[in-house]
C-alpha cells in the first residue's frame, strides 16, 4: 500500500480522469473538434494565387483585349445574356461597347468584381494604346504569421481552453448535484476544498495534452509560428484555463439541473464567441463597445496568446491582458465560495 493511493485528493483527481476518459463525446469536443476546425479553416482560407476572374464583353474585339490579361478569362455574349450571367454569379463583370467608349457593368460591393473592374479597364486601356507613365516592378513576399491560419490558431486555442474548462467543471458539478452525489460526498469526511481542487488538478493535466496536441498539429501541418517564449505561452494557457474554470465554478455554484446549467453556460460563452476575436479581430467592433470587449476574459486570453505566438511579445508587454485574466480568476472564485450549494 502506498500513501498516494490512500490520499483522497489523489483518488478524487483520478476519478475525474476516469470519468472524462470514459466519455467519448467529451474527448471529441476537447481534443478532436479544435483540430477539425483548424483543418477546415486552414483549407477554406488557404493563401493561394489570385483566381482567374470570369468576365464577358459584348464584342469580339473587347473580349480579345480582356483575354490578353493573364488574370482574366473572357467570353463574348449579348447584353441580355451577360446581364443574366451577372445576376447568377457566373461572370463578375460585363464590358459593353458604347458609341465612343465602354461601360462596365458589375457589383461594386463584391471585392472580386471590384478587382475585375480594375484589371479589365487596364487591359482595355492598354489595348487602346495607353502606356505606363511610370515603370513599375513587383517583388513578392509570403510571410508566415500574417496568414489567416496564423491569426485563427491562437483564437481557436483560446476558445477551446474556455470551452473545456467551463464545460469540464460546470457540467460535472451540476450533474453531481442533480444526482445527489454532491450531497453524499459532503456527508462523508471528504474535505470540501479537495473536491474542487481535484477538478483544477485534472484540468491542468488535461490542459497539457489538449494544448500540445492542438498546437503541435498547427505547427506541423500549417507551420504556425511560435515567436514568444514557450514557457510564457504555457503560463498563459494555464492562467486562461484556471480563469475559465473558476467562471465555470461560478456558473455551476447554484444550478440544480443540467438544463439550467447549459443555458447559463451558453449565456456566458456566446457573447465571447462573437465579441472576443476568435475568427476576426475584436477591434472591428465600434469604439463604444470596446471597453466591454477588452474586459472579457476570452478577449484578454486571445490577445495575449496572439501577442506571444505571432508578435513574440514577452509577459512584461502583456500586463493588461494578464491582469484582466487574473481578475477573472479571483473574483468568480471568491463569489463561488460564498454562494456555492453542496445540495
Amino acid at each position: 500500500m502506498n500513501n498516494l493511493e490512500e490520499s483522497s485528493l489523489y483518488q478524487l483527481t483520478i476519478t475525474r480522469f476516469l470519468l472524462f476518459l470514459r466519455e467519448p463525446e467529451a474527448i471529441f469536443w476537447v481534443f478532436l473538434f479544435p483540430i477539425l476546425l483548424a483543418v477546415g479553416l486552414g483549407i477554406a482560407f488557404r493563401n493561394r494565387p489570385a483566381d482567374v476572374l470570369q468576365v464577358a464583353a459584348t464584342t469580339p474585339q473587347l473580349t480579345a483585349a480582356l483575354n490578353r490579361d493573364k488574370g482574366l478569362t473572357a467570353s463574348t455574349m449579348d447584353e441580355a445574356q451577360g446581364t443574366h450571367e451577372l445576376a447568377t454569379g457566373q461572370i463578375l463583370l460585363l464590358a459593353i461597347e458604347r458609341p465612343g467608349g465602354v461601360t462596365y457593368k458589375y457589383d461594386d460591393t463584391n471585392p472580386d468584381a471590384h478587382t475585375a473592374r480594375l484589371v479589365a479597364d487596364r487591359a482595355i486601356q492598354i489595348a487602346s494604346g495607353q502606356r505606363e507613365a511610370l515603370p513599375a516592378q513587383n517583388q513578392l513576399v509570403h510571410e508566415t504569421g500574417a496568414r489567416y491560419i496564423d491569426f485563427v490558431v491562437p483564437g481557436l486555442l483560446g476558445m477551446n481552453l474556455m470551452g473545456s474548462a467551463m464545460w469540464g467543471l460546470g457540467f460535472s458539478i451540476v450533474e453531481a448535484r442533480q444526482k445527489k452525489l454532491l450531497k453524499r460526498m459532503v456527508a462523508s469526511p471528504m474535505p470540501r476544498w479537495q473536491y474542487l481542487m481535484s477538478f483544477l488538478l485534472s484540468r491542468l493535466v488535461m490542459l497539457v495534452v489538449e494544448v500540445v496536441v492542438f498546437l503541435g498539429f498547427a505547427r506541423l501541418v500549417f507551420g504556425v509560428p511560435f515567436r514568444g517564449s514557450l514557457w510564457e505561452l504555457g503560463f498563459l494557457c494555464v492562467l486562461t484555463s484556471l480563469s475559465f474554470s473558476t467562471l465555470g465554478l461560478l456558473v455551476a455554484s447554484r444550478a440544480q439541473t443540467m438544463e439550467a446549467a447549459s443555458g447559463l453556460m451558453n449565456l456566458v460563452m456566446l457573447p465571447m464567441w462573437i465579441l472576443s476575436g476568435v475568427f476576426f479581430s475584436a477591434t472591428r467592433f465600434p469604439s463604444v463597445v470596446q471597453p466591454i470587449v477588452r474586459a472579457l476574459p476570452l478577449t484578454a486570453a486571445i490577445d495575449a496568446l496572439r501577442g506571444n505566438m505571432l508578435q513574440g511579445m514577452n509577459l512584461s508587454q502583456q500586463v493588461a491582458p494578464v491582469v484582466i485574466l487574473f481578475a477573472w480568476l479571483v473574483v468568480p472564485f471568491m463569489v463561488s465560495l460564498r454562494i456555492f450549494r453542496w445540495r
Binding site: 490520499s7 478524487l12 450531497k183 453524499r184 456527508a187
Partner: protein, 328 residues
C-alpha cells in the same frame, strides 16, 4: 373514533449517558411548512431504531438533522456524545450515511467507487472486506450503470460502511426494490445488527420496521405519535388480531351496524369504519368471532366480506391517525 394517545415506553438512556443518539426539542420549518415539530428521541448503543411514517411525515428531515446535513431551527443533537457544532470532522469519520436516491457515477466501477469513498476515511474496511460484506464480489469490476437496483443499493450501503462506522443512518434503504432485493438487503442489515452496530433507519414499510427494528418511532406531521418495540406498539392497539368485515341488509336496509352492540362483546377492544369496512381489534379470536356472527344476525345483517389478520404496525398507525399509511 380513534384513541390517539402517544405511547411512550421505557427509556433506555439517561441524561448522564446520552447513548448513541439523542435529540432534544428539535424543530425545523421550511417556509410555512413545519417539517419537524418538537422531537425528542434517544437511541441506545447497539440498537436498530426505525423512524416510521408516511411520506411527508418528517422522517427524512429528522434523519438529515441527525446526519448534520440540515441544521435544526431549535433543539440539540448529540451523536456518540459529540455534537455537529463542536466535532464535525470527528463525527463524519465515525458515522456512515446512506441517502435516499444517490446516483453514483455510472461510468465508475464498483471497486473504483469504493476506493474513492474509502480514501475519505482515516481507517476502515479493505476493498475485499467491503465487497464481501455487501456481496458485490462478482460485481467488483462492473460499471455502476450496469448494476441492478438492489446491487446499487448494496453499493450505497457499502459506501456507508467503508469507514467502519459506529453509527449507521439508512434513509429508506429498500424503497423501489423488488421483494427479493429487499429481503437480500434485510439480511445485510441483520448482519450489521448482530455485529453490534447502532443503526437508525427510516422506512414507510411497516413490515420492514417489524422485521428489522428493535424499537420504532411512528411519525406523523413532524411529531412522534408512538414509540416502543414493534411488539409493544402492536399490543397497544388492544388486540393481537384484527377482524375486518362488511355487511348488507339490516333494519334500514343500508347495512347500518350499531357499534355499541359490537363493542359490548367481550374481547373486542375497538371498532372503526373505513370506506364501509368495519375493523375490530380482538384479543380472543376463537370466542369472539362466533359472538360477532350472532350479533350481526340479530340485527338482520348479512356478511358480504369477512377476514382476519394478526395486528401489524400498519394497524397501529391506522389506530392512531385514522388514516392508512399510504393514503397520501
Amino acid at each position: 373514533m380513534t384513541d390517539s394517545k402517544p405511547v411512550v415506553l421505557h427509556r433506555l438512556t439517561t441524561d448522564e449517558n446520552p447513548g448513541a443518539l439523542s435529540l432534544r426539542g428539535i424543530r425545523k420549518t421550511y417556509a410555512d411548512v413545519v417539517a419537524v415539530d418538537g422531537l425528542d428521541l434517544e437511541v441506545a448503543y447497539g440498537e436498530c431504531f426505525g423512524l416510521l411514517g408516511p411520506n411527508g411525515a418528517g422522517k427524512t428531515t429528522t434523519i438529515e438533522i441527525c446526519e448534520g446535513l440540515t441544521p435544526a431551527d431549535v433543539g440539540t443533537v448529540t451523536l456518540l456524545g459529540l455534537t455537529w457544532e463542536t466535532s464535525p470532522v470527528e463525527l463524519r469519520h465515525q458515522i456512515g450515511i446512506q441517502l435516499q436516491q444517490t446516483e453514483f457515477p455510472a461510468k465508475l466501477t464498483v471497486e473504483e467507487t469504493l476506493r474513492l469513498f474509502r480514501s475519505f476515511y482515516r481507517s476502515g474496511l479493505s476493498l475485499d472486506e467491503s465487497t464481501e460484506q455487501a456481496q458485490l464480489e462478482e460485481k467488483r469490476s462492473a460499471r455502476v450503470g450496469r448494476l441492478s437496483g438492489g446491487q446499487k443499493q448494496r453499493l450505497a450501503m457499502a459506501c456507508a460502511l467503508v469507514g467502519n462506522p459506529k453509527l449507521l443512518f439508512l434513509d429508506e434503504p429498500t424503497t423501489g426494490l423488488d421483494p427479493q432485493a429487499r429481503r437480500h438487503l434485510w439480511d445485510l442489515v441483520d448482519q450489521l445488527k448482530h455485529a453490534g452496530r447502532t443503526i437508525i433507519l427510516t422506512t414507510h414499510y411497516m413490515d420492514e420496521a417489524e422485521r428489522l427494528c428493535d424499537r420504532v418511532a411512528i411519525m406523523d406531521h413532524g411529531r412522534v405519535i408512538a414509540l416502543g418495540t414493534p411488539q409493544q406498539l402492536i399490543a397497544s392497539v388492544g388486540g393481537d388480531h384484527i377482524v375486518e368485515f362488511a355487511v348488507t341488509g339490516g333494519a334500514a336496509g343500508d347495512g347500518g351496524v350499531n357499534p355499541a352492540l359490537l363493542t359490548a362483546i367481550p374481547g373486542i377492544q375497538s371498532h372503526r369504519v373505513d370506506a364501509g369496512v368495519h375493523q375490530l381489534s380482538v384479543t380472543e379470536m376463537h370466542t369472539t368471532v362466533p359472538r360477532i356472527f350472532s350479533a350481526l344476525r340479530e340485527q338482520g345483517l348479512h356478511l358480504s366480506e369477512f377476514r382476519t389478520h394478526s395486528a401489524t404496525l400498519e394497524d397501529v398507525f391506522v389506530g392512531l391517525t385514522g388514516r392508512n399509511l399510504r393514503d397520501e
